[in-house]
């Protein structure tokens, strides 16, 4: 069964046709990569799937229920979204920033329990910031802040995780740590990654959605979709495939 699916979805923002008649089934255990050039509407599509933006046509369903029939809270219990930028105008501790991820699961008068706090500590450990719980978030580096945002998503414990450039600001080591963390043992979770690094997609994702910026999209298994020809068309730049230790690598060729 599909956890979530987009049926004949058409999304347009300003003058950009983001997608046309897109049908995208998301099943548990799948890892999707969304690839495309800057400004082709990857973020818009992700926000539309999360129910934050309206679609021009088509529907999005969560467990076969139309998203528009669910409250924000009901959606938040099952669909999480990692935003590209974190907004911090006010002080607060890392623990506080992570615990808001529990909000959709708590009643309005309910305080976070020890179990909720433990989830937050566990998440901190998973993202490699073990002793950061009392650190003021305003003192974190870009990469650390990004990982804290990821921890917030983890404690939200959703079946669908939409991740807008999750490796933004991260060094190579942490890029791989984060991708590994999200794609290991995720049998009951569907991940959708917006990525700029094709090689992270080939390595950690099983499905890919290519967005060409004119409403046209292409999807399928990574092994079928991610080819020299498709990627060169996608990025309007010659892309070469090389093989190294049975792993496919894509590099930008010079013009």
């Amino acid at each position: 069964m599909n956890l979530m699916s987009c049926n004949t979805l058409t999304v347009q923002i300003a003058n950009t046709r983001v997608c046309e008649n897109l049908s995208l089934p998301l099943k548990a255990g799948e890892n999707w990569a969304i690839l495309g050039m800057n400004g082709c509407g990857k973020t818009t599509l992700l926000h539309t799937i999360a129910g934050l933006l309206p679609a021009q046509a088509g529907e999005i369903t969560l467990n076969n229920i139309n998203l528009s029939n669910l409250s924000r809270r009901e959606i938040a219990q099952q669909v999480g979204l990692l935003l590209q930028h974190q907004e911090d105008h006010f002080p607060g501790t890392v623990l506080e920033a992570i615990l808001i991820g529990r909000h959709p699961h708590l009643k309005s008068w309910q305080w976070e329990s020890e179990i909720d706090k433990q989830l937050a500590y566990d998440a901190l450990k998973l993202i490699g910031l073990d002793n950061f719980s009392e650190r003021p978030i305003l003192t974190l580096s870009g990469g650390e802040r990004q990982r804290v945002a990821l921890a917030t998503l983890l404690v939200q414990q959703t079946k669908v995780r939409l991740l807008d450039e999750p490796v933004n600001h991260l060094d190579i080591h942490h890029q791989h740590e984060v991708m590994k963390l999200l794609t290991t043992n995720n049998n009951d979770v569907a991940n959708v990654f917006v990525l700029h690094d094709v090689n992270l997609a080939t390595r950690y994702c099983d499905h890919a959605l290519l967005m060409f910026g004119n409403g046209e999209t292409q999807q399928g298994n990574c092994s079928d979709v991610l080819t020299e020809e498709n990627l060169s068309k996608l990025y309007q730049h010659p892309i070469k495939e090389i093989s190294h230790q049975e792993q496919r690598w894509f590099i930008a060729d010079s013009h």
Binding site: R73, E74, A76, H103, Q156
Partner: protein, 324 residues
């Protein structure tokens, strides 16, 4: 310090100040006189000073500060800018304009004036938000700037009303406007609004903790943004209105107090809101006591004192933010 300890500490300070301010004033009173005038009803002069002058004023000062600080804390979450405050965003100005119009037409009841102030505050708030709205969202900076400009507009409207007012009312109107607590009555009404307001905002406090991290994030965490925004609009307007009716537009309390509470390490709104309420009460109580004792028997409007504290702090924060 643990948040709960901090709140108990603020409560203790409030009680001490409550009692302390009863002894301060141009007429020195002994402990016995104060005690007797509070416990027994009599009509001696000393007793009247306490029950008719000092006690109501102490209560009014506390309530006004508490209302403003709470309104400020709410508005800061709404616009996601720590510099927001009912005075700076022009909400006090809108409320004051409405009250002055009411006074011009001879309104006197606190209930009626608060109603007018509420409408004025709500109009001011909606005006700022509608004008700052752009492409379906607003930026905190744009919102703040729009508020400042609108506040200037209210200032002009107030000047116009004062020009049209009969001379005999002018002195009272002016003092009330500058933030003067010596004319305030209906303290119990202000306290009712304060307690209802605090209870309602406490119900929203965990949502505020999420909203403060951004609209988009809050929506992904299950917050109905439109609903929450409207609740905050109404609550903040109501709190501001009750404060303005008490003491005109006292500036900067709404922004100084939540800021100081955050500096003390309290950022969770379930603690921040009650702490700001107490802190606001304390600040205005101290400022007002200073205002009525510094050059006694002459009295200053309390707004002058809060501006003296608020303006340098505001400028300092603005400069610090620019450096970051």
């Amino acid at each position: 310090m643990r948040p709960i300890t901090f709140i108990i500490f603020l409560t203790f300070i409030s009680i001490v100040l409550f009692i302390g301010t009863l002894f301060l004033g141009s007429v020195p009173l002994s402990f016995q006189t104060v005690w007797l005038s509070l416990t027994e009803s009599n009509t001696e002069n000393a007793s009247l000073i306490i029950t008719e002058l000092r006690l109501p004023r102490t209560l009014a000062a506390f309530a006004t500060g508490a209302l403003l600080a709470q309104a400020g804390a709410l508005m800061q979450v709404l616009v996601r800018n720590p510099l927001a405050d009912p005075y700076i965003l022009g909400v006090s100005g809108g409320a004051a304009t409405a009250v002055l119009i009411g006074m011009l037409f001879g309104f006197t009841s606190a209930f009626g004036l608060t109603g007018l102030a509420f409408i004025g505050a709500l109009i001011a708030m909606i005006l700022v938000f509608v004008l700052a709205h752009q492409k379906g969202s607003w930026t905190p900076t744009r919102l703040l700037l729009t508020g400042v400009v609108i506040a200037a507009g209210w200032g002009a409207a107030i000047s116009l009303i004062l020009t049209l007012s009969p001379t005999k009312n002018l002195h009272g109107m002016l003092f009330w406007l500058m933030g003067d607590l010596s004319y305030s009555d209906s303290v119990s009404f202000a306290f009712s609004v304060l307690i209802i307001g605090l209870s309602l905002s406490m119900l929203l406090s965990s949502q505020l903790n999420v909203l403060i991290r951004g609209d988009k994030l809050a929506a992904t965490l299950g917050i109905n943004l439109k609903q929450l925004h409207i609740k905050i609009y109404i609550l903040a307007s109501l709190l501001t209105a009750a404060a303005v009716v008490q003491a005109g537009s006292i500036g900067f309390v709404g922004f100084i107090v939540p800021h100081l509470i955050r500096l003390a390490g309290i950022t969770d709104h379930r603690f921040l809101l009650p702490a700001a309420t107490l802190g606001g009460g304390i600040l205005v109580l101290v400022a007002d006591t200073a205002a009525r004792t510094i050059i006694e028997p002459q009295q200053l409007p309390v707004g002058i004192i809060t501006a003296l504290i608020g303006i340098p702090l505001f400028l300092y924060l603005l400069q610090r933010d620019a450096k970051q």
